[in-house]
Amino acid sequence: MSSHSDESGKKLGMWLFLYTEIFLFGGLFVLYAVYFARYTSEFVAGGKELDQLFGVVNTVILLISSFAVAASITAVQRNQQKRTLAGLGVALICGLVFLINKYFEWSHKVANDIFPGSEKLAEGPEGQNIFFGLYYMITGLHSIHIIIGMVLLLVSLVCVKIEKITPTRFALLENSGLYWHLVDLIWIFVFPLFYLVV
């Protein structure tokens, strides 16, 4: 009565899930919008304190990783296992580099006494506290999503290796790819909101 290898159905399910992710971040973006309107000058000052170089590098890294994932999906359809694995490998390394960058960026901030509950933020203007509060919340949640995305890519990589993902059955890889693109896309919005808000 039903076909359980309905690949486009699986993709539909994934798209629906991606909507929920957008709304999850949407709640935080609403907070950003409201507080940006209220504390515009503090947000601009806060944006200047962030290191744009870090932001640009991370953006480029994620764009490369997205390309690698897209390439691996094309490769799997053409039955090129090695290229598929290479694409996923590159994407995973990019994800890791992104997290390492984030770690250095955050620890630099913490060393400068900028973190939720720190004295500098408590004594500084209210808008500054909110800006960095949102900065940690949004980039933190985004990093968690990077980790989830990397796990999905890793599972896909193993499945390609043991040939559970084949040129005719690759919904898992495609869905992991969709998830990765979403995480990437969210960063494309996070980046200007924090680093380029001048």
Binding site: M1, S2, D6, S8, G9, L12, G13, L16, F17, Y19, T20, E21, I22, F23, L24, F25, G26, G27, L28, V30, L31, V34, Y35, R38, Y39, P116, G117, A122, P125, E126, G127, N129, I130, G133, L134, Y136, M137
Partner: protein, 556 residues
């Protein structure tokens, strides 16, 4: 009673096919494992049924304790602190563990695939995962009780109190988060199932109305739940780290919390009521022996409620100090959302008009639903209008209003669905007389319980108060008796149903004379739902065949 047969021959046959009770899926598991790791949507539905009933009765008990405490002024038998926890737990359990999952997770799981002529939901394993998330949420909620005291914030977890109170709010909030995830995945599953697994001959305008209502619900579940998920996570972060996003001392705005919370929680009331409306739309035509009035209007109004219901959240916040423009806009939108609900009520009543009505417990409960829900809806307009709202804001009037819609609405739809589909799910017919007595006690008790609250609210008695002035004594005293009748009535109805499980199966495949696909399969259905290819009617509520069979039978 000529129509509702225990053992009839004409109205479908008692097939000897093995039901899903006898055929586990996957087949290699036996006993309890055949339930705990099943992917069969019918078994998962029954697991939901019994776990949800457990929470339901616990929350009823807590609600009863609240009313008992309020029957007399001053402290009766619990302290003010325990009282705060009582109404918090009553609300949290009723909303997150009963009323949101009840209709979609039990009846949706069981009947959605059957009504669209397929053998399971699209993601059976995800379906099982949703049940485990539901159970995990429940267990986390229990855990929250045994450390640092019961949560005492009310189910809304309003800041700043939810961030500053010493009770265990984090765990309770996390439980709600997990339960939200469960409900979201169920919605995702249903949408995909309806799109991808519908019978090839069934077009969109041939889908039964219960499934349509689940479709609308699923979209709300999917689009609104993530907003509350992030809000609840923020409450946890604030409790552990103290970023200050909602703390005015640190530049935050507590009103923003209320906006984010109601952005989900108001659409969530439509998650609660839409499937209930779907159930009523199924029951009314069957017992009126007449095609549903305005099929397309009901479908369109379900979708309209889903859309308009997402745009009215701030009508919970008229007294919070929002701008007057916002109050005006949200008041207007609130009035708009009343229109599609009213369309449904008109359609149900018009279906009954000039029908050949056969009274049965499901119809009786549905009629009570229409009345109680209409009262709930109309008093909702009193609250939706900004002027009158200020007078009754946060009083017992609000409590009575949302119990009329949530309990008088969804709760009664739940009981109606239980009585309508019980013979199909378990293959057993129940005693009508006891069901009628239980339902009458429930409805009578309901009125006796909540009408005094409307009056108390108009007189100005605030909600959530532990103690009250002497002039509110009579109303509170009377409401306590209503609560007792209600609890007895519900207990009687459930026991009546559970008692049938000890008897052999006696229900035919179509005891009521329904036209949707679930009545074309044996009761209880076999593992793959249908023995032979189901016949898809051109119009899902075409009763010509049913009326013919019925008239033939009465002649005999």
């Amino acid at each position: 009673m000529p129509v509702f047969h225990m053992d009839n021959r004409l109205w479908g046959s008692m097939d000897i096919t093995q039901s899903f009770f006898e055929t586990p899926a996957p087949a290699r598991y036996k006993g309890i494992l055949s339930w705990l790791i099943t992917t069969d949507h019918k078994r998962i539905s029954l697991m939901y049924l019994f776990s949800i009933l457990f929470w339901f009765f616990l929350a009823i008990l807590l609600g009863g304790l609240i009313r008992l405490e309020l029957m007399f002024p001053g402290q009766t038998f619990v302290s003010a602190q325990v009282y705060n926890s009582l109404f918090t737990l009553h609300g949290v359990i009723m909303i997150f563990l009963f009323i949101i999952p009840a209709l979609p997770a039990i009846f949706g799981n069981f009947f959605l695939p059957i009504q669209i002529g397929t053998d399971d939901v699209f993601f059976p394993k995800l379906n099982l995962l949703s049940w485990y998330l539901y159970m995990a949420g429940g267990i986390i909620a229990i855990l929250s009780l045994f450390s640092d005291g019961f949560p005492d914030t009310g189910w809304t977890f309003y800041v700043p109190f939810s961030i500053s109170t010493h009770t265990n709010v984090s765990t309770a909030v996390f439980a709600a988060f997990v339960l939200g995830l469960s409900s979201m995945l169920t919605g995702l599953n249903f949408i995909t199932t309806i799109h991808r697994m519908r019978h090839s001959l069934m077009g969109w305008m041939q889908i039964p109305l219960f499934t349509w209502s689940l479709y609308a619900t699923a979209w709300v579940q999917l689009l609104a739940t993530p907003v509350v998920s992030i809000t609840l996570l923020l409450v946890m972060v604030e409790r552990y780290v103290g970023v200050g996003l909602f703390d005015p001392a640190k530049g935050g705005d507590p009103i923003l919390y209320q906006h984010l919370f109601w952005m989900y929680s108001h659409p969530a009331v439509y998650i609660m009521i839409l499937p209930g409306m779907g159930v009523i739309s199924e029951i009314i035509p069957v017992f009126a022996r007449k095609s549903i009035f305005g099929y397309k209007a009901i479908v369109a109004s379900s979708m309209a409620i889903a859309v308009a219901g997402s745009l009215v959240w701030a009508h919970h916040m008229y007294a919070s100090g929002m701008s007057d423009t916002a109050v005006f806009v949200f008041s207007l939108l609130t009035f708009v959302v009343a229109i599609p609900s009213a369309i449904k009520v008109f359609s149900w009543v018009s279906t009954l008009y000039k029908g050949a009505i056969q009274m049965a417990p499901p119809l009786f409960l549905s009629l009570c639903f229409i009345y109680l829900f209409s009262v709930g809806g109309l008093t909702g307009l009193v609250l939706g209008a900004a002027g009158t709202n200020i007078h009754v804001h946060d009083t017992h009037f609000v409590v009575a209003h949302f119990h009329f819609t949530m309990f008088g609405g969804t709760g009664f739809a739940f009981f109606a669905a239980l009585h309508y589909w019980w013979p199909k799910m378990f293959g057993r017919m129940y005693n009508f007389k006891r069901a009628y007595i239980g339902a009458a006690l429930l409805t009578g008790g309901f009125m006796f319980h909540y009408v005094p609250m409307f009056i108390l609210g108009l007189q100005g008695m605030p909600r959530r108060y532990f103690d009250y002035l002497p002039r509110y004594e009579t109303g509170n005293f009377l409401a306590g008796f209503g609560a007792a009748f209600m609890i007895i009535g519900m207990f009687l109805m459930i026991m009546n149903l559970l008692f049938t499980l000890r008897k052999p199966r006696n229900a035919s495949s179509d005891p009521w004379g329904g036209t949707t696909l679930e009545w074309q399969t044996p009761s209880p259905p076999p593992l793959h739902n249908f023995i032979s290819e189901p016949e898809i009617l051109k119009y899902p509520y075409d009763f010509t065949g049913v009326v013919e069979r019925y008239s033939k039978e009465t002649k005999e």
